[in-house]
């Protein structure tokens, strides 16, 4: 017998299947829209136009109470005391005691005593248990409420997103700065719980949380204004180009299989070294002091190997010496090249140098690069 495996349908399931003819599939215990019109096509819609992702599978958790700030400071590597009201703190990491990443999450500050957290879908339940444990162990006065099954969430992404919002008469939204959010406003005549200027694609865009019924109406209005549905598969190809990390590929909790958080080079201020007292700090500082063995880098395959696709676990070689392994890979329709992410031995982590990747017994050459792997995206204020 197989282990009991429950799959939850996204809150917008009917809409995707009956109206948008989506090809559905499983991600992180959820049945989500994988593809609508074609992965590469959808990828380029996000890079050049405006696409709508259903991201209702993402864990959305509300934490309230007088001890929320000490609670969040205990969980995360970032100093969230610097975050202002109605701003997201920027992505940060929740570690275990081995300095391995439990989840990379995004805290949203409404007020000192009221915050929202976005957790990755595959880790939501694990993290809820972790929060409870931390609250109990420290006697924190914090209430945790899971909003995941109440609110749908979409990410509208791409250089033409502001244009689309204007066209649908959404009201003023482009005054929001990157990582800023507002709550309880109307878009397309429907009440939304939250709108933020954010995403996970490297492009400009907004993320909206709303009740499922209202969300379908907002989705329809966005389509009418020229946005196009884009699926979960191209979220992966987009994030690989940008150098964003994914659990199970670039990080996991097991210290025998994955390097510590230092090796991720997560960036975006996810770790604050001035901060003290968070879970995993001791191990994280020890790795910082002693140095890390592995460094996460980007790889862009040479033009003649443009179609040699990198997959998790493929070994890397330099001058016949084992030098690391691939963590993610895809074909970048933007660069028309095979690209990927890898952990490389720190001694060989020289940007611009070449590395060989072994694919089914043959070696193919690529260049070691920093992220993002695509030319700089327009910076939004």
């Amino acid at each position: 017998m197989c282990a009991k495996h429950q799959v939850v349908k996204t809150l917008l399931w009917d809409f995707h299947v009956k109206e948008l003819n989506a090809s559905m599939g499983e991600f992180g215990g959820w049945e989500v829209p994988m593809i609508y019109t074609g992965i590469m096509k959808e990828h380029m819609i996000v890079r050049t136009d405006c696409g709508i992702f259903d991201v209702s599978h993402m864990g959305r958790i509300k934490v309230t109470g007088p001890d929320v700030i000490p609670f969040l400071q205990k969980i995360y590597t970032k100093d969230i005391s610097k975050t202002k009201d109605y701003w997201m703190s920027g992505p940060t990491l929740a570690l275990n005691e081995h300095a391995r990443v439990k989840d990379d999450e995004m805290p949203y500050k409404i007020s000192d005593e009221e915050w929202l957290i976005i957790a990755n879908a595959p880790y939501r339940e694990k993290m809820l248990k972790h929060y409870d444990k931390v609250i109990k162990e420290n006697g924190f006065k914090v209430k945790v409420e899971d909003l995941t099954f109440k609110l749908a969430m979409i990410a509208v992404q791409g250089p033409k997103t502001v244009e689309v919002f204007e066209k649908m008469g959404a009201g003023r939204v482009d005054d929001l700065h990157t990582l800023q959010f507002r709550m309880n406003e109307e878009i397309a005549g429907k009440k939304v719980f939250l709108i933020s200027r954010s995403g996970w694609t490297g492009e400009d865009g907004f993320e909206i949380w709303a009740e499922p019924k209202a969300m379908v109406e907002i989705y329809r209005a966005l389509l009418k204004a020229g946005a196009k549905p884009v699926g979960t598969v191209c979220r992966d190809t987009l994030r690989i180009e940008m150098g964003f990390v994914l659990g199970g590929h670039e990080y996991e909790e097991d210290p025998t299989k994955f390097p510590p958080a230092n090796s991720l080079r997560y960036g975006m201020g996810a770790i604050d070294w001035d901060k003290h007292g968070f879970i995993g700090e001791e191990a994280l500082r020890a790795y910082r002091r002693e140095g890390v063995r592995w460094i996460r880098v980007g790889i862009r395959m040479r033009k003649k190997h443009a179609r040699a696709i990198l997959r998790f676990g493929y070994p890397l070689y330099i001058e016949d010496q084992y030098a690391g392994w691939v963590t993610s890979g895809t074909y970048s329709p933007y660069l028309k090249r095979s690209v990927g992410q890898a952990y490389i031995d720190a001694r060989y982590a020289i940007f611009g140098d070449f590395v060989e990747v072994e694919i089914r017994g043959k070696r193919y050459e690529g260049r070691i690069l920093d992220f993002p792997l695509i030319p700089g995206r327009p910076v939004v204020k």
Binding site: S23, I35, G38, I39, M40, V233, T237, R307, A308, I309, R311, T330, Y331, S338, R360
Partner: protein, 141 residues
């Protein structure tokens, strides 16, 4: 056109009636003592966007059912199996630059290779179009 449409779990697929099939979703077309091979419409729809292919070398001796190449889709790598035993006499090098032909025209411009058969009887052992469609309909239940 010599094509039939069949449905599995609500999705529609095309099968050609003038070719034979493997259980691993390759088609094989007899051309005198040679066999032209490619992947079926079902295979390309399952794989979705195909972005790369690894072809065998011309001149390679292959055995029926043996892995002779790989198809890279955005989501996964799939093996390509030899439909019959023999010598590879031609490969479709265009696919190296335009693997999307495998999605666009799997029975036509997306052909993969031609094998000179070592034992022509092997071709007759391949699935008939009816048996191929039946196999998928059964598996879909």
């Amino acid at each position: 056109m010599s094509v039939v449409e069949f449905e599995v779990a609500g999705k529609k697929y095309l099968a050609k009636t003038d070719v034979r099939y493997t259980k691993t979703d390759e088609w094989a077309k007899k051309e005198d003592n040679k066999v032209r091979e490619g992947i079926t419409d079902y295979a390309q729809k399952e794989l979705k966007d195909i972005v790369g292919i690894e072809l065998p070398e011309v001149g390679a001796e292959v055995k029926k059912g043996e892995v002779i190449g790989a198809l890279e889709s955005v989501k996964a790598t799939a093996d390509l199996y030899a439909a019959v035993s023999g010598k590879v006499v031609e490969v479709n090098e265009r696919l190296l630059e335009e693997p999307e032909l495998l999605n666009k025209d799997p029975y036509g411009e997306g052909w993969i290779l031609v094998i000179e058969m070592a034992d022509p009887k092997e071709f007759d052992e391949l699935l008939t179009p009816e048996a191929y469609v039946e196999m998928h309909k059964k598996a879909g239940h």
